[in-house]
């Protein structure tokens, strides 16, 4: 620390002076936002590990990751959008449409990997143009626009398939990605975690990543500093849609079929994961690591209730309570921080 002014200055920083305590303070600063979800996660995992002998087995833990990798991808995409202070209701519809598009491409004999990449690019362009430009450039309400595209994307899927599901079972590459493993780890998990790492790097270490936070924190200040606010927003929606495209490819591969009703209600579950992870609905604060924790928490709750043989009807009740608890916890934390920083 080159500017050690804490003795003379009225240090109102929440980090106490003194290098050792300052290091501890910096570590605390780094993990502060995860404390709420972290504690809940530890308690949940501890409880399940003790009461359910089948919980803490490698097979079960991998199964949790596998079932939730699609959710994690959508939640990562949604985190990009939430960081800018927006929201995307069309994620589920985009996911279903992408699954159908990839199935249709496979039917006409296109290679699986080529089809997957085409679909992801198409999804990103669709999301970027419809959601991104309407919200970013024209400044329309994200709620109305993505409500419209939600219906549009899902409806298009239904029109294409006339409401039926399409099978992907014959395609070997799709089976491999959907249920195959590499060194014992499902490909789904490998892909989802790779995307997560990439998303962490993008949000933390690129100019674009920091612009996301700036636009969500104060769009006017960002604009006055020469940031193209509309483009940042549009790109965030495009990335979100692209990740939903990837999620659609993976989901239809996992289930070996593409259905126009796939991922119904996914937007709310993914939003719950993002918000549980500490990302602010108002934008400008949050992180990809938090989103991982949030998605894991929802996955573990669902898994724990299944192996404890609790009716699945209770799952959304519990999720709802947990979400409210997390928001309340966040409120307490913010109030204390505000008091400490003296504003």
């Amino acid at each position: 620390m080159s500017t050690h002014t804490s003795q003379s200055a009225p240090a109102r920083s929440i980090v106490p002076p003194g290098s050792r305590r300052r290091l501890a303070g910096r570590i605390y600063e780094g993990i502060r936002v995860y404390i709420g979800i972290g504690v809940m996660l530890v308690v949940l995992v501890g409880y399940l590990a003790i009461t359910q002998p089948t919980f803490a087995t490698p097979q079960n833990l991998i199964a949790i990751l596998e079932t939730n990798s699609v959710l994690l991808l959508v939640a990562i995409g949604l985190t990009f959008v939430l960081l800018t202070g927006g929201f995307d209701l069309s994620v589920g519809g985009m996911l279903a449409l992408s699954g159908i598009l990839v199935a249709k491409l496979l039917e006409s004999g296109v290679n699986f990997y080529v089809a997957a990449i085409l679909v992801i690019i198409a999804a990103a362009i669709l999301g970027g143009v419809f959601n991104g430009l309407l919200i970013g450039k024209l400044g329309l309400s994200f709620f109305v626009v993505t409500l419209g595209t939600m219906s549009l994307f899902r409806g298009t899927g239904q029109v294409i398939t006339e409401g039926h599901g399409l099978s992907l079972y014959q395609v070997e590459a799709s089976r491999l990605i959907g249920s195959g493993r590499f060194l014992g780890v499902p490909w789904l998990v490998i892909i989802a975690l790779s995307v997560l790492v990439l998303a962490i790097l993008v949000t933390r270490y690129t100019g674009f990543g920091r612009m996301l936070y700036a636009v969500g924190g104060n769009a006017e200040a960002a604009r006055l500093s020469g940031i193209k606010v509309w483009l940042v927003r549009a790109v965030a929606y495009a990335i979100c849609a692209g990740l939903c495209g990837l999620a659609g490819v993976l989901e239809s591969s996992r289930l070996a079929s593409a259905s126009p009703t796939a991922a119904t209600g996914m937007e709310l579950v993914a939003a719950a994961a993002v918000l549980l992870g500490g990302t602010s609905f108002a934008g400008g604060a949050g992180s990809m690591v938090g989103t991982l924790l949030g998605a894991l928490f929802l996955g573990i709750i669902s898994n724990g209730m299944t192996i404890s043989q609790i009716s699945s009807f209770w799952q959304s009740v519990v999720t709802g309570f947990v979400l409210l608890a997390a928001v309340l916890l966040d409120w307490f934390r913010m109030r204390r921080d505000r008091r400490l920083s003296g504003t």
């Binding site: 620390m1 080159s2 500017t3 050690h4 002014t5 804490s6 200055a9 009225p10 240090a11 109102r12 920083s13 929440i14 980090v15 002076p17 300052r22 910096r26 600063e29 933390r204 270490y205 690129t206 100019g207 674009f208 990543g209 920091r210 612009m211 936070y213 700036a214 924190g217 104060n218 006017e220 200040a221 960002a222 604009r223 006055l224 500093s225 020469g226 940031i227 193209k228 602010s280 400008g284 604060a285 921080d337 920083s341 003296g342 504003t343």
Partner: protein
């Protein structure tokens, strides 16, 4: 009719009003005068129940009253036409005019015919012709102002407060409104008017009540109510000008603005700033200073004109290109425009420093931030602390430091020391002078005349979207600035383009 005694109001450490005694008589037109920040707005807010004073009493016809909301003031017969329009744009005129009666409607069903009839009657009485069924958003600013006035008068108040009600009106409408006030005066209505045009006060008011720095500065009865006396009362202090220890080079205009026309205005702005010159932009709130600075920074739409920096033409309406051409803006409100309040000092300093695909080197960014913290004397022990943990003055230094980190050649400062404590204020002045000494052109808009007189080499005065005065040397005085700001003319003033 209404009298205030010993009214005091403080906001934190700032005393907005100190021990004010004011009486408004029945059927009197009182002009409330004072410079920006003299306490006029606070006094109006107290009269209309928006703000509760810390101490002092309010009496209406001898009875002590206390208002805790605008509604209570309205019940006591005090109606306010606020500076900003408060119409509901999507509702028709009659709904807007009859809005004060909305709360009575729960008792009986609303008769639309009745509402329209009463609206038509009040509009007829005012002598304005507006279709009561039209949504207010379809009306122009003039008609909207009259809807606002009709809304205030429909409750038949005893006291009408007009806070800059004429600012949206043209000359003819102003005359019409002033005549209207006089007509209502004959029927016993008292009026408190605030206006930035001195001529409106001298022509209409029975008395002027002058505030200065939150305290009573003096009163002028009708027979003494003249421009010169009024300005003297509003100003009433001497400020020592700082002397400069270096000369600006008059030969080298750094920033040249020619016939700049802002969207929505038909006025054209022409000005220039030399190398190393600090030019003040004075004027009243709403005179167009912020708009000019924002237009130069590319963030406010410009329809026509030429801006050059060191001879290179600056592309208009493009904040990034403006910045690249060397124009950096420190915006007026650091909370809503300058800072990302949810982020750290480091994030705020480095805002926009890394391009889209650029790699964010946090260690280097923190080093740069620490260097800026040391250079500008920002008082903090940790650049990762939230920017809101800093005092107002230090927050402002972060915004200023960020603007300077873009290596500008022209610095556009909008109210750079508003809400800044005295110590940090001097630091900021030093930073500005240092930059000017090294050749930067500085354009500084401020409502604080001490600041304008203290550090500026030249002062441009704006009034209603135009530069109306270019003051240099001995002509730079508080009196002259106040006079020009209020639309007056200097006796021996030669305006040089």
């Amino acid at each position: 009719m209404i009298s205030l005694s010993g009214i005091t109001k403080t906001y934190g450490a700032v005393t907005a009003l100190c021990n004010i005694d004011l009486t408004v008589n029945r059927a009197e037109i009182l002009a409330l005068a004072g410079e920006n920040g003299s306490g006029k707005s606070t006094l109006v807010k107290i009269l209309s129940g928006v703000v509760v004073p810390d101490s002092g009493t309010i009496r209406i016809e001898g009875r002590p009253v206390s208002f805790h909301s605008p509604l209570e003031a309205l019940d006591q017969g005090i109606a306010l036409v606020a500076q900003e329009l408060t119409v509901l744009p999507h509702l028709p005129v009659y709904e807007n005019v009859m809005l004060p009666f909305l709360r009575h409607r729960t008792r009986r069903l609303v008769s639309r015919r009745n509402l329209v009839a009463r609206t038509t009657r009040i509009l007829d009485e005012l002598g304005v012709q507006i279709d009561p069924y039209l949504p207010v958003s379809r009306l122009g600013p003039v008609q909207q102002t009259f809807v606002e006035i009709a809304k205030a008068l429909v409750v038949e108040p005893k006291l009408l407060i007009l806070d800059e009600a004429t600012s949206r009106l043209g000359e003819k409408e102003v005359e019409f409104l002033l005549a209207l006030i006089k007509r209502l005066q004959a029927r016993g209505l008292s009026t408190v008017m605030i206006t930035h045009r001195i001529i409106e006060m001298t022509s209409t008011a029975d008395r002027a009540f002058v505030l200065r720095d939150g305290a009573f500065a003096g009163e002028l009865p009708k027979e003494h109510l003249r421009e010169h006396e009024l300005v003297n009362l509003m100003v009433g202090r001497d400020i020592v000008r700082r002397t400069k220890d270096y000369a600006t080079s008059a030969a080298a205009p750094r920033l040249v603005v020619q016939d700049l026309q802002l969207a929505g205005s038909h006025k054209r702005l022409t000005l220039n700033v030399q190398v190393g010159e600090i030019v003040g932009l004075a004027g009243l709130v709403g005179a167009g200073r912020t708009e000019l600075l924002e237009a130069l920074a590319g963030v406010r739409k410009v329809t026509d004109g030429v801006v050059t920096v060191d001879g290179t033409q600056v592309p208009l309406n493009n904040p990034r290109r403006s910045l690249r051409c060397g124009l950096a803006l420190v915006p007026e409100d650091r909370h809503t425009q300058g800072l990302i309040v949810t982020d750290s000092i480091y994030e705020n300093y480095e805002l926009g420093a890394v391009p889209w695909l650029g790699f964010v080197n946090r260690a280097r960014g923190r080093r740069r931030t620490r260097a800026a913290v040391a250079r500008f004397g920002i008082k903090t022990s940790n650049v990762l602390a939230p920017v809101t943990s800093l005092s107002g003055g230090n927050q402002q230094k972060v915004v200023l430091a960020r603007a300077l980190s873009k290596d500008p050649t022209v610095l556009l400062l909008d109210e750079p020391t508003r809400g800044v404590d005295i110590g940090a204020r001097d630091d900021i002045y030093q930073i500005i002078e240092e930059q000017a000494r090294s050749g930067m052109a500085v354009l500084l808009a401020s409502s604080d005349l001490v600041e304008i007189l203290g550090i500026c080499d030249r002062v441009l005065v704006m009034h209603e979207g135009e530069v109306v005065g270019d003051l240099r040397g001995d002509l730079i005085s508080e009196h002259n600035i106040a006079l020009l700001s209020a639309g007056g003319k200097l006796e021996s003033h030669v305006y040089a383009h």
